[in-house]
């Protein structure tokens, strides 16, 4: 289950999420979107480490990041 | 009911506006129209309306823009120098298709000029005044009764066509007192609902947007053609004009507003003297009564245009007759002691009648 969902249509690759993440889990990669922006990305391994603190989502100027947590049973 | 009143022109326009349901007024003091904000400040609060004296003419017209966008009948008033400042807002309102009534009680210019009667703002009113190529509906009353009547008409036309309407008076019309019968307001037509206005989105699927910026390919051109069609409809349907004795006239005098009052006296003096002189008095300056001039000059080949300026409406008269008549001009630019008398105009009529 992904905790961090980065909308590829909205992301402009500015990297503000990268500096926002206290665990340094996000990078800006080489893949580009329709507008030609390189996209912020998070690996599956880092998805596991993500604490869903939402600092990245809060910093994102394009409201491109959604954050979710698994329900505890 | 319909008791006769004896009021100033500046008060008559307010009485008419309130009768037509106007409850919002935003303005700024300037002579010779101060009785308008003073009247509105006295009457609107008691009617549940809003009177606000703005920090500037610029702010006032933008408050009008906001209130109009919010869906109500709203008015402002000023005189030439103030209308210059409002020109920006008027252009935005024209572009945003916002109805409102703007009263210009003209003083003389240019610059600070003076506070006496003048018609020097004809171009400013009729040719746009602001940037971008738009028209206002322009109504030019020549009596206190007509000022009252046209203030109601102005609101109706503005709402019907979504074009701001200007009442163009002058210091004479604004300041003098005459009898007025305040007929009850009767809408000219069934007016369209203001479903475009901003009220908060509520349950609407989409928010309403009031704007004049069009960036998509072709969108601005389409918008401007739509406005152009609206102006054409006004020309086709809403021309208002008074004519006196033009059927047998050898010379047609034409004048609007305050100048027409003097002209009417001069025309009757001419008729008494046996001269076949008629009068065309445009009441709508935009749309201009082009066809009335065109038809009248198919027979009568001479027109004398009289204005309280150095020649402005005369250009539209010439365009209307399209060289089928000899259009002459007599005017004085206004200022203290610069108002022509009926005798002076009668003399002009005699002169232009002969040669």
């Amino acid at each position: 289950m992904k905790k961090l969902v980065i909308d590829e249509e909205f992301c402009k690759g500015c990297g503000l999420c990268v500096i926002a993440c206290p665990l340094e889990l996000i990078t800006v990669g080489t893949k580009v979107n329709k507008q030609g922006y390189p996209l912020a990305q998070i690996s599956d391994a880092n998805q596991v480490k993500c604490t869903a603190c939402s600092a990245c989502a809060r910093m994102c100027p394009d409201a491109a990041i959604s954050v979710y947590l698994p329900k505890k049973d | 009911m319909n008791k006769r009143l004896f009021v100033k022109g500046n008060e008559a326009v307010c009485i008419g506006a309130i009768a037509a349901g106007c409850r919002y007024y935003f303005g700024y003091p300037i002579t010779p129209q101060n009785e308008i904000p003073e009247y509105m400040s006295r009457e609107l609060p008691g009617l549940g309306g809003t009177f606000l004296q703005a920090e500037s003419e610029v702010a006032a017209i933008n408050m009008v823009l906001g209130a109009s966008a919010a869906g109500v009948r709203v008015m402002t008033s000023s005189s030439g120098p103030g209308i210059s400042l409002k020109a920006e807002g008027l252009s935005y309102m024209a572009g945003s298709e916002l109805p409102a009534v703007i009263v210009n009680i003209m003083r003389c210019g240019p610059g600070l000029g003076g506070i006496d009667a003048s018609q020097a703002d004809y171009f400013q009113a009729v040719k746009g005044g602001g940037h971008g190529g738009y028209h206002l509906i322009v109504l030019a009353p020549d009596s206190i009764q007509e000022l009252y009547d046209l203030s109601m008409v102005a609101f109706d036309l503005a709402d019907q066509y979504r074009v701001p309407a200007m009442i163009l008076g002058d210091a004479m019309i604004g300041q003098m007192k005459e009898a007025l019968i305040p007929h009850p307001y009767q809408p000219l037509a069934e007016l369209p609902a203001k479903d475009w206005s901003v009220t908060g989105k509520g349950n609407r699927v989409q928010g309403n947007t009031v704007k004049s910026l069009f960036l998509q390919d072709g969108a601005l051109e389409a918008h401007n053609w739509r406005l152009h069609d609206r102006y054409q409809q006004l020309k086709d349907r809403e021309v208002r004009c008074e004519t006196i004795g033009i059927d047998d006239a050898e010379l047609i005098l034409t004048a609007f507003g305050g100048a027409a009052r003097i002209a009417k006296t001069a025309v009757s003096m001419a008729r008494q003297a046996g001269l076949k002189v008629g009068l065309i008095r445009p009441i709508t300056l935009f749309p201009f009564p082009e066809q009335v001039f065109r038809q009248a000059t198919e027979r009568c080949r001479r027109v004398l245009c009289v204005e309280l300026n150095n020649g402005q409406m005369v250009e539209d008269v010439r365009l209307s007759v399209d060289r089928q008549a000899d259009v002459r001009f007599y005017g004085r630019p206004g200022g203290t002691g610069s108002l022509p008398t009926p005798e002076e105009l009668f003399e002009q009529l005699q002169k232009h009648y002969k040669d």
Partner: protein, 253 residues
């Protein structure tokens, strides 16, 4: 999201699901989102009317799912006054840049504040005219190179950066005036709280509320998104200190 997940953070409903025209790293998007979050949280979307200004912020209506009026340059507070006087129960806010609010629209903002209009004003200060290509703004810093101060803003001849949050706090009609920044996650959170409060005050008819937001314009500053973001704390905050300069919300009860 799947039923097994809890939503921690999502795009607010008051923003339309469309990408913006703003440049990469431009903070307008952040401020848009904070306003939209406040409207969502206070359940004001249906009754809110936004007043767009001239500049990069003009396309407000493309992004906010609310009613919007576009004002001429600098005139948003006057337009907002007209709207609010007609619909006193609606929530009316202006969203203005520094050229719009602090230069050409100085009279309108001061008098709207002085009248105590029940408005929320969001003022984005990025020390430049973004839309027109990076000219000097009233808030440009001393020495700042812009396209109209190619040798740097000379305080002797070009004037001083104007501090609107402090200036407006002096007026009796102003009920709330604060300056916030969106250059770090905790400051974004704080900015969100302040913007929320500025709308909540209007909901309670508590008078004129003004929020200045320090923001980056990477394109016109000629900096990368990250360097531009860094400039806010390094260069802007010494001139434009963060803080609340007036708060009468308690006094209103």
């Amino acid at each position: 999201m799947a039923d097994s997940m809890i939503t921690v953070f999502e795009r607010p409903h008051s923003l339309k699901p469309v990408p913006s025209h703003f440049c990469s790293g431009c903070h307008h998007g952040t401020v848009h989102r904070l306003v939209a979050e406040a409207l969502d949280q206070l359940e004001l979307q249906q009754q809110t009317i936004g007043i767009a200004s001239v500049g990069c912020s003009v396309l407000l209506y493309e992004y906010f799912d609310i009613d919007v009026v576009e004002a001429p340059h600098g005139r948003a507070p006057a337009v907002a006054t007209g709207v609010k006087r007609v619909h006193p129960d609606s929530i009316v806010f202006t969203y203005q840049g520094d050229g719009d609010l602090a230069a050409i629209g100085t009279a309108e903002i001061i008098h709207a504040a002085n009248r105590g209009e029940h408005l929320t004003v969001i003022f984005v200060n990025n020390t430049t005219y973004g839309m027109t290509g990076g000219q000097m703004a009233p808030t440009s810093l001393g020495g700042q190179v812009t396209t109209t101060t190619p040798y740097g803003r000379d305080l002797e001849t070009d004037g001083n950066p104007i501090r609107m949050a402090e200036l407006l706090a002096l007026l009796d009609g102003t009920h709330f005036s604060a300056r916030v920044s969106v250059d770090a996650p905790r400051r974004v959170a704080q900015a969100g709280k302040v913007i929320h409060k500025a709308f909540e005050m209007q909901k309670n008819r508590a008078g004129f509320a003004f929020v200045e937001v320090l923001a980056a314009c990477p394109t016109n500053w000629g900096l990368s998104a990250l360097d531009a973001n860094e400039r806010i704390s390094q260069e802007m905050m010494p001139c434009f200190p963060l803080g609340t300069f007036k708060d009468l919300s308690g006094a209103q009860g």
